[in-house]
Every structure is written in structure tokens, then in C-alpha cells.
Symmetry: C2
Subunit: 159 residues, 2 copies
């Protein structure tokens, strides 16, 4: 049986995100999974996701960290509440995103994001991420994720 990604559990109305929505055909469709205490996502950027030739552009790296982190925040919140991700939605959005670009990230290799939950409260989760290419850390991310505000829920079909 194939393990479902965090994002595969999102209700349809939360599945249109360009970064991680499984229903956004033009999007990146990032998928995140637990591997022990770390949440892991793997992604192969396209040739057009370039900075200078041969390297991945920084906005892509920020996008991967962003969506992988909010997904991880959600998964961690479910886990803390002791319930599975197919129960009532528990969605997080990014309040603050910090990316440190440590080395140019090579294009043409699958990137690996490995995240840890550094802090978890009811309405706030802090996630730290390493972005690796060929097992080398090229960037690190810190995301403060907060429970999705009502103002963003109003335009979606709540269930």
C-alpha cells in the first residue's frame, strides 16, 4: 500500500494551491511524508526553474519550503491531537518565511527537504527545514505557520 502524502488528505477546497494542491494542474504538487520525526518532500525542478544556467532559482526553493512547512505544520497538529488527517480540516498558513541560501543549488537533481517541528502550539507551529541536493545542504528555511484565519476560509467552501 502506498503511503498517502500530507497534501493528499487536504479537502478539495484546500487543494488548489499552486505549490501543493493536487487539483492545480499547473502547480508544483509538492508531496510531504513523515520519515520518523522528520517530514520529507522530494522535488525535481524543471529546466525552466533556473536562476543562472545550471542552478535553481531562489523563488522555487522558497516555494518548496513554504508549502512543505505548512503541510508539516498541519500533519504535526493532527498528530498532536491524536487524530488522522482524514478527519476535520486543520489548515495552516505561513505567517513568516525565512530562507538562508547557503550555496548555489544545482539544477537537474532531485531536491530533498527535511523538516523538523521546533515548536507546536494550538495556533502556531514553527518548522525548520534543510534543502539538500546530492546530500549537500544548499538552503535552510524557518517557517512560522499559523492556523488559517477566518478571512481566508470565507472564500472557500467550508465543511
Amino acid at each position: 500500500m502506498t503511503q498517502k502524502a500530507f497534501q493528499d488528505y487536504y479537502p478539495d477546497e484546500f487543494s488548489h494551491c499552486y505549490g501543493c494542491g493536487r487539483l492545480n494542474e499547473k502547480g508544483l504538487q509538492i508531496k510531504s511524508y513523515w520519515e520518523g520525526e522528520e517530514a520529507v518532500a522530494r522535488f525535481l525542478p524543471g529546466d525552466h526553474h533556473t536562476a543562472t544556467p545550471g542552478f535553481v532559482y531562489g523563488g522555487m526553493i522558497a516555494s518548496l519550503i513554504d508549502c512543505h512547512s505548512t503541510g508539516t505544520a498541519s500533519a504535526a497538529a493532527y498528530r498532536k491531537e491524536g487524530r488522522t488527517m482524514d478527519t476535520d480540516p486543520l489548515r495552516f498558513v505561513t505567517a513568516a518565511l525565512k530562507v538562508d541560501y547557503l550555496a548555489p543549488t544545482p539544477l537537474g537533481v532531485e531536491l530533498e527537504l527535511r523538516s523538523k517541528v521546533m515548536e507546536i502550539k494550538e495556533k502556531k507551529v514553527v518548522i525548520e527545514t534543510r534543502v539538500l541536493a546530492d546530500n549537500k545542504t544548499c538552503a535552510t528555511g524557518n517557517v512560522v505557520a499559523v492556523r488559517m484565519p477566518e478571512t481566508m476560509m470565507t472564500k472557500t467552501t467550508q465543511r
Copy 2:
């Protein structure tokens, strides 16, 4: 005569960036201009650049801030050296990117990025940016841009 954008001066080998390269047909092709002491870019996200329906996804906002800031760093460095952007390349890359998402950013309106140069040294420029939608600040950005390292230059055709 139409004003050229910062990015229009980049040599061809630096014009493939997904965010701001004028030669990347699949990219965002961000354009930045001086308006007095502020550098300004305007961008209309596509319908597919969504977070939840009706709002712009965070990775897009980070991408816009990223490329607009490195372009602004470059333009500011030329200005400081008292030369025009059609002279020898003076390229910057992002060392650190911080985005604070203050309010959900509505989709369907042109976003405006307004940036100020907070610090400028030979190899480091710090840029602060406001991202506005309908004249309301939805996000702020802080970018530490550094002169492009040799390791990124080697894969490009230097002139």
C-alpha cells in the same frame, strides 16, 4: 521613449531566471524600475497562482520579492558606482530572504512591490520591500543580496 526595466539590461547569460529573465518564456518576467528613491515592480498573478481560492500563494510573493530585490540591489550598485546598467555586469544573488505575510493577498489585482535600499556595500545590499494589493500592504520582505559568487559565474558565459 519607454523606460527600460533593470532586468532589460541583464546580459543574455543572466536573463534565463524563472522569476525575472526576459529570455525565460515560461517565467514570470518581473520588471523593476526606479520611482525616485524606491524601486517598483508591478505584477498580476495568474489564476493558477492561488493559495486557497481567491488568494495569492505565498511562494509567488516570495518569488516576486526575491527577484525584484536582487534587481534593485544591482541597480543600486550601478547607481552608487555612477555608471549605467549597460556597462559591465554587476549581478547580485539572494543570501537571505525573509517574508512576513501580514494579510491574505487577493488574487485578481495587480500587485505592487515598493522597495528601499537600507544598506549598500560593495558586496552586500539590503533591500526592504512592501507588497501592496489595492494600496494595502499584504506582505513585507527583507532581502540580503550579495555579489554573485564565482561558483555561479562559471556555468555562464562571462563577458
